[in-house]
Every structure is written in structure tokens, then in C-alpha cells.
Amino acid sequence: MSITDLFSTDLKPVNLGLDMFAEDLAAQGAAPVRMDWTPPGGGDPDVIAALGRLERPEVAEKINAANEEALSRILAAQPFLEGFGRAIDTVPGMTATTILHAGPPIAYERMSGPMRGAVTGALVFEGLAKDLDAADELARSGDITFSPCHEHQAVGSMAGVTSASMWVHQVTNRTHGNTAYTNLSEQLSKILRFGANDQSVIDRLNWMRDVFGPMLGAAMELNTDGIDLRLMLSQALHMGDEAHNRNVAGTTLLIQALTPYLLETDFSTQEKREVFDFVASSDYFSGPTWMVTAKASMDAAAGIANSTVVTAMCRNGVDFGIRVSGTGDRWFTGPAQQVVGPMFAGYTPEDSGLDMGDSAITETYGIGGFAMAAAPAIVALVGGTVQEAMGYSRTMNAITTGNNPNVTIPALDFMGVPSGIDARLVMETGILPLINTAIAHKDPGIGMIGAGIVHPPVEAFQDALRTLADTVGEA
């Protein structure tokens, strides 16, 4: 529109900046479009310069093509539950003295209280230490290998602590052939993944090792077709789950699919009864299943040259780490944040530990916080209205490469979940991914004390963007 044309058209201003100007415009009847703007790149001049380099048309074109490839792999991935096995027998690189943990790499000494509690508990559970004090000493001795789950094709809820004899899901992405792993839900109470490690916790782990895991494994041996997890996830979203903090529908669907085979196993009726009671004791049974579904999908999109799509978001209770497709296995980290949300009776925000767990792989895939609009029953977690929950899912469209037509949100006219977080868009818009998650008590041994929302630290994305500009931008 030329200047002269503007003079004969109704002025329709956009106000970017001082609100008082918008108010003056409104007072004059000019109905300004208002912005909720934040400086790109978190206001860091280096990052803005990096964005500029990545925006050059020839570079942007290359990135866009790579991101489309990444997105198409995420959407095409078909994770199937193939079986359950012991970590030592299945997870790549697992040894008798390896402890896998959630989040980016971290030394034992730097771990948060709950994660240290989980590690020492696991060492006792494995029989590597006679008690927790001995376990702490062993953990510091250098004889134990600590490694992120993510570096072993695995994810772990909360502390994510996975040791050799724990049972894990085996999920294969049948489209791309990669397999991913995650351990079993201890259900929601005083549990290892929240740092609890007393005898009741060890007893439960023993039972899971001796009865629960083997029975699930035996059931899946009888199910030669495997279970199509993406299809089941899609159904669960239509039933009101977002598959991170609300899993009641998914758990019902999963146990329904497993039940005929569980019944056919050679375990005693008493043992079967124990397994069904255990699954029924918490909606969270399928929580890890959706995490590993997401992991199997996101791994297929990893390592695509020039892609700025985020392939992992995870936290160890101290650091928040992300991985980006075009930079492969490299971690970009920033400080883990405090989760904000309603808490169980008797607890206050001062009791809460920092954000922890690999469960943000669900948001990386496009569910969890990104699918908030599918789960109006839990909008209280984000402290708002159903309408606001709808807004959260839509907002994530601004930072993602596309939508997943296989996993949809009925209330948004079956909009596919926003998928393929683009690190460029996160920095450009200042919109950080929204993560729904549990709040762990800051001290080991207490467990979950609430749930709410959290965002990644901006530093992780700034770091990633600078590296992308140096690699992709110069290629």
C-alpha cells in the first residue's frame, strides 16, 4: 500500500512498545493491534546477530528443508511396544555398575537431593552397597558409571535412575527401525524416582524386578503383534489426556490391551491380582510409556544436518539440557527452573525441588503441555481457565515446524499437536516451550508434592542458537 493509498484508507495501527501509545490510539478510536513482545534471543546481542545469520535467505532455505525432513520423520514414526526386558539385557551400553539418570550429564556430587537419593537407593537395590551410606561412598568412588538415559536411547521419569536389573519398556519405531527404552512406573507414592529410598521403596523395586517386570515381559512375548502406541496415544488424547500430567485414559487403554496376555502368563492368580492392583493404584502407569513413545519418534529426527528442530528436552534437577537435530548429540544447557503450580495439602513452594526428569520428551514430541487443550480437566495446573488452556496449545504453534495429523486435539477442531520445536522460532518469538510436570520435594525420600508448569531456561536455547549460527550459518 503506497503512502497515498494509506491516506485514503482507515488507519489500522500495530503498537509495538509503550502501552500508553496504544491507549492514546484507542482513545482516538483507532483500535490498535497490541503486542506482547519480548526482545528476540532473550535480548542478547550475540544471539540476535546469530538469528540474523540464520535468517539469510540461502541459509534459511537450507534450514527449512532440513526441518521439513525432521518433521516428516517425527510424523511418520510408528512406535510399537515390542516387549519388556531387564536393562542389562536390553539397553545399549548398560553394565552392572552403570547408573542411568535423567537430564544432561551430571557428576554425582552435583546432583540434586532427590537424584542422589535415587542413586543411592538403586545401588542398595542392586546389592552393590549394603546401605545408603555405603552407597553414597560407592557413588563417589569412581567405580560407578553415571550416564544420561538419553545417551542410551532411553528416557527416565523424574530422577530417571535406571540400574541394571530394572525392567524397561522396549519400543521400536517400525518406520525407521530405532528402538527406545524406559523403566516402569513405580506409581505415585514414596518412590525411588522422587528420591525416596527406604526399605519400602527397595521392597517395591524387588517386586517389580521379580514379578511385575517379568509378567509384563511374558505378556508381551505372547503378543506377537506388538502394541501400536501412537494410535493408543491418539485415542488417549481424544479421551482427555495430554499424556504427561494426565494419563488416566492412556493407562486404561494400555492395561486393557495388556490384560488378555497378562491373564495367559504362567504367574499365579495372586501375583496377577497384585499386578492389576498395582496398575490400578495410580493413573501414572502409562506415563513412561508415552515418554518412550516420544523418544522413539524424536530419535528418528536426530542428526539431520542443518536442522534446528529440538530433539530432546530434559533436566536433571540442576541443569536443563536440550539437543538439536543439526548438532547431533551435543547438549546445550541452562539452569533447571522452579515448577509453578498447585501443591498437595500441607506443602508450599519453598518445599519444591527444581525441574527434573526426561518427561519433557513428551513436549518435545508435541504432547504434554503442548496438548494442554486436550485435557481441560487439568487446567488448574496452569492456574487458569479452559480457554487459556486452549491458548497454550495454539501458542505453541508459533514455535513449531508443523502439526502432527496423527495425534489431534478434538476441542481445537482436531488440530494436530504442535510438533518439531524450532530453536530459531523460540529465540525469535521469546516464547519458551510449555512443559507440564510434577513437582518433587527438594529433599530425598518425600516424593511428589504437586504439579504445574515450567519452561526451559532461555540460556539453553541461546547457546544452541549461537552454535547453530557458527555451524549451519557458515556452512
Binding site: 503512502i3 491516506f7 546481542p45
Partner: protein
């Protein structure tokens, strides 16, 4: 402290809602602890852990709702009521749609495709980037932000020119497009006079004077103060003149700027001549008096510019109140000042107003100091003490660094006013008060106490301190100019009727001999 325990039989609320309600209940006044939960074994254990024990709780079933409230004795009833309200979800707001705000310009353009102009006032470090996005999307742009590099300005203006768009700024304080004021602007009548201004308050002043003379404004295009520099080359000024030339709603064009770079001035005048419309040019402080073109008239100040423009629309001069300089007033003030009170101190919010007053002083005096003086020998920094005749543009970068503009925040000027009043050689303190969109809601009111104090200081040493004020605004502005003037008059301040007269009166009050 009172503990209230209530077990509601067969009342179910989901755990997520209960967590949220607990959080709210704990925030109720007087409540030290509120626990809401279904009576599941796990929740009962939680209550036990925090020391809540009661037979009613022991007897409760998982289908029962447990409510425990610990509150101060006198507040317990109110707290129970408040928690009841929370449980009843009485405050749930039904569908009051939050105002839509967009995170990115691209997002805004997508949702509001008919948006056509972006007013940018974010930190200058980010303004150029956003402006580029707006231009690429085909939107006109006004950049209010300062601290945008001249390289960015040149690049943005080239892009805007290529796309036929406005790029007003950076550091563009005012514009009126289609009758709507943008950023700092005054409520003026619409009419047939178009303004292109490189100086914000100069443009505001001319629009107000035109309004005062009964005329109106078709469009007011700001260019930003650097537009007429040799580097930028007057790109926006020239495009602005051409746009007004093509605009059927514009009969007369007014150009206002500090003196441009010579080669740019020549080009601007040539483009003005080609417009075929009467053009009034006010290059403040320029020695040039002839444009060399029949339809292009050079004038010396903002008021002459407004007058020439209004006359060019065909108004009969004899019907206008010209607000001629009040000679008897000059004599009266001279009579009140002591012999040693020879100097003017000008404390300005408006850069052009400062300029205009300073040039008026320079026509009579040599010893005129300012932070915007061209001659380095007479230039003052922000922290320098005033000397002899001093005219300060308090809205200049030296003063605004890290603080709001004096049109919004009067603090700096109030301090300076107190300081100037201590100098027994000062006879006149001249000040502008700018009302209108964007400005302080009562610039006179916040200054009155400091004026009274300044006058009292002078009186204490047996002097009359002349405070001369000018209110830039119209009867349509809020607050209206008459209201502000009345406040000043009540405080014993002498009123100038225009920026031009403010400069002349200030000078004449302390000058010797004939009036010029």
C-alpha cells in the same frame, strides 16, 4: 488459633482442582493452613504428617471431602466463608475473553492482515529488526525509538523507499496520519495543510499554531531528526513531500527542520518546487531567506510557518488574531528586573522549542550557551552549570540517557529550575509545557510548587524573578491548553502565546534598547 474441620459426605472433587483450591484457600486472609482433599488413605496420611488428627477424619471415606482450616480466632468465620466460596467456584469467570496480544509482528500481521502501520517504541537495539520485518510485510512504519544506528536508518529508508512505504524515524516523536495522532501529538482539526517534519516538537508546534489560526492538518509526517543529514540524504522528507503533493486532501505543504546539510537542502527545495503546491519551509536557524522557487516560501520560525500556510489556503489575514508581541508587557517586566538580572535561562522539553528560543537569543546576544549549540565554545554538557544566557534541551540524549523524556517525567527540570533560581544574575526563566497524546497528564501542575519556590528564593534576596511559560497544546487536548494556562497565571507566570513568541519575549525581557 481455631481449627475448623468439616467432612462433606459423598462430595467429590478431582485432585487437580483440589490442589488448585488449596493453594487459593491458603492465600485467604487469616488462614495459617488450609487442607482440602478427598479422604483417601494417602491424603489422610498427609494430614497426619502435618499434625492433623481427628476422629471425624479417621471415619471419613474416600468418597468424602475433607476440609481443614486453621485460622486466627477472629477471622475463622470469614475464612470458612471464603473457602466455601472457593469450593463453590463462585469466582470462576465465564468466558471473558482476554485481550488478544501478539508475540511477533508476523503473528499480528497474519491475524490482522489489514493492519497498515506499525508504531515501534521498543528499545532501540531491537527496533531496526522489527522495522525491517514490518517493511518486508508491506506495512508503514514509525520508529519512536532512538539509539538506532545511522547505518540501519539508511538501510531501512532505502527499503521503505523501494516499497513506497513510510519509514518515519528513528527517533520520530510525532505524526498525524488520517487524523490520528501517533506517539506525541496534539488534537488538532483536520484540514488541508500537510506537514513533513524532521523535528518533532517543531511539527507539533506548527500543527497547534495552524489549529489556533483556524486551519487544519491533512497529514503530519515525521522523518526523524537525522533524515536531512548528508548521510541519510532526506529520503523520507522527499518521499513525504511527494506523497503530500499527490494527496488530494493536501493544499499546502509545510516543511520543518533544523538546517539541513547544504546539498540535501537544495534537493528538498527542488522536490518541494515540483510539488506544484504552495510550500512553506522552516529551516530553523538557517540564514537562507530565498528558496529560488515561486511556490516555495522560506520562513524564520514556527509561527510564521503556520501563518504563511494558513494564508496560502486562502484565509484573509485581517480575520486572524496574530498574537503580536506585547510591547507594554516587555517594558513592564524590564522595569521589575534589577540591573544585575541580565540573563535568560531556558529549560525546555521540546527540542525545536529550545532551538527556536536559542536562535532568537542569538540574533541579539553572542553569549548564548546550550547543550545543542553548534559552536563548541558555547556548548554545555548535561552536568555543566549554566552560564550567562543558557538554553537547555532537556529532551536531548545527554539528559535522557537512562531516564524518561521530560515530556513524561519532569524530575530533571524541577531540579534544574531550583538550581537556576539561585543565580542572582538570572532575570528570566523560560519554560515550555507540552500537553497532548503521550505527554504528562498535568505538566503545569507538577511544576507549580517548584515555580513558587523559585520565585520565593528571588524574593528573599529582593529580586523579581520573571517566569515565562508557553503551553503547547490545543483546546481539544487533554488537559486543555486553557486549563494549564490558568494554573500558570495563578502562579504568577507570564504566558507566551507561541513557541516563537516565547523566544522573543525571553530575549526582549533582558535586552537593552529597542525592541526588534
Amino acid at each position: 488459633m481455631t481449627r475448623y474441620i468439616d467432612i462433606r459426605k459423598n462430595t467429590y472433587l478431582d485432585s487437580v482442582s483440589l490442589m488448585s483450591m488449596s493453594t487459593k484457600a491458603n492465600a485467604v486472609e487469616g488462614v495459617t493452613q488450609a487442607l482440602l482433599g478427598m479422604a483417601t488413605p494417602m491424603n489422610k496420611e498427609v494430614l497426619l504428617n502435618v499434625g492433623v488428627q481427628d476422629p471425624a477424619i479417621d471415619a471419613a471415606k474416600p468418597s468424602d471431602l475433607m476440609i481443614v482450616i486453621d485460622a486466627a480466632d477472629d477471622l475463622i468465620d470469614a475464612a470458612i466463608q471464603a473457602v466455601d466460596d472457593i469450593l463453590a467456584r463462585k469466582n470462576a469467570s465465564a468466558g471473558d475473553a482476554a485481550e488478544i496480544r501478539y508475540r511477533t509482528l508476523d503473528g499480528a500481521f497474519e491475524e490482522v492482515p489489514d493492519s497498515n502501520l506499525v508504531l515501534i517504541s521498543v528499545n532501540g537495539a531491537f527496533a531496526a529488526r522489527e522495522a525491517r520485518k514490518a517493511l518486508v510485510a508491506g506495512k508503514h512504519v514509525m520508529i519512536f525509538s532512538d539509539n538506532v544506528s545511522v547505518e540501519d536508518e539508511i538501510e531501512l529508508k532505502a527499503l521503505a523507499h523501494e516499497k513506497g512505504l513510510l519509514l518515519m524515524g528513528p527517533d520520530c516523536g510525532t505524526a498525524i496520519i488520517n487524523g490520528t495522532g501517533l506517539a506525541f501529538a496534539n488534537a488538532v482539526r483536520r484540514g488541508s495543510i500537510g506537514i513533513v517534519g524532521a523535528s518533532g516538537t517543531g511539527s507539533q508546534e506548527i500543527s497547534v499554531r495552524v489549529h489556533d489560526f483556524g486551519g487544519g492538518i491533512s497529514q503530519l509526517i515525521g522523518t526523524g531528526g537525522r533524515d536531512l543529514s548528508a548521510e541519510v540524504g532526506g529520503v523520507m522528507m522527499i518521499d513525504g513531500i511527494n506523497a503530500l503533493a499527490a494527496d488530494p486532501g493536501t493544499e499546502v505543504i509545510v516543511i520543518v527542520s533544523k538546517p539541513p546539510a547544504d546539498e540535501v537542502a537544495g534537493r528538498v527545495l527542488a522536490v518541494a518546487a515540483e510539488s506544484g503546491k504552495p510550500v512553506v519551509v522552516c529551516f530553523l536557524g538557517s540564514p537562507r531567506t530565498e528558496s529560488g522557487y515561486d511556490n516555495v516560501q522560506l520562513v524564520s520560525g514556527t509561527k510564521p510557518a503556520a501563518l504563511a500556510a494558513v494564508l496560502a489556503t486562502g484565509v484573509d489575514e485581517s480575520t486572524l488574531d496574530l498574537h503580536a508581541l506585547n510591547i507594554p508587557l516587555v517594558e513592564e517586566v524590564r522595569g521589575k528586573l534589577a540591573p544585575e538580572q541580565q540573563y535568560v535561562r531556558g529549560l525546555f522539553c521540546g527540542g525545536t522549542l529550545c532551538d527556536e528560543a536559542m536562535f532568537a537569543a542569538l540574533a541579539t546576544f553572542d553569549n548564548v550557551y546550550s547543550n545543542i549549540q553548534q559552536d563548541p565554545a558555547y556548548r554545555l554538557g548535561a552536568t555543566d552549570v549554566s552560564k550567562e544566557h543558557t538554553y537547555l534541551d532537556l529532551g536531548d540524549d545527554d539528559f535522557t540517557n537512562g531516564r524518561p523524556h521530560p515530556m513524561i517525567d519532569p524530575t530533571l527540570r524541577l531540579q534544574r529550575l531550583a538550581h537556576e533560581a539561585d543565580d542572582p544574575e538570572v532575570g528570566v526563566i523560560a519554560m515550555d509545557f507540552i500537553v497532548g497524546f503521550g505527554s504528562h497528564e498535568d505538566p503545569v501542575g507538577v511544576t507549580i510548587p517548584a515555580i513558587a519556590e523559585a520565585k520565593a528564593k528571588a524574593a528573599a534576596r529582593g529580586q523579581h524573578l520573571e517566569i515565562l511559560g508557553y503551553v503547547l497544546g490545543t483546546d481539544l487536548d487533554s488537559p486543555a491548553v486553557a486549563e494549564q494556562v490558568a494554573q500558570l497565571e495563578a502562579a504568577g507566570v507570564t504566558i507566551a502565546s507561541s513557541s516563537t513568541n516565547l523566544g522573543l519575549l525571553a530575549r526582549e525581557f533582558v535586552a537593552k534598547g529597542d525592541h526588534r
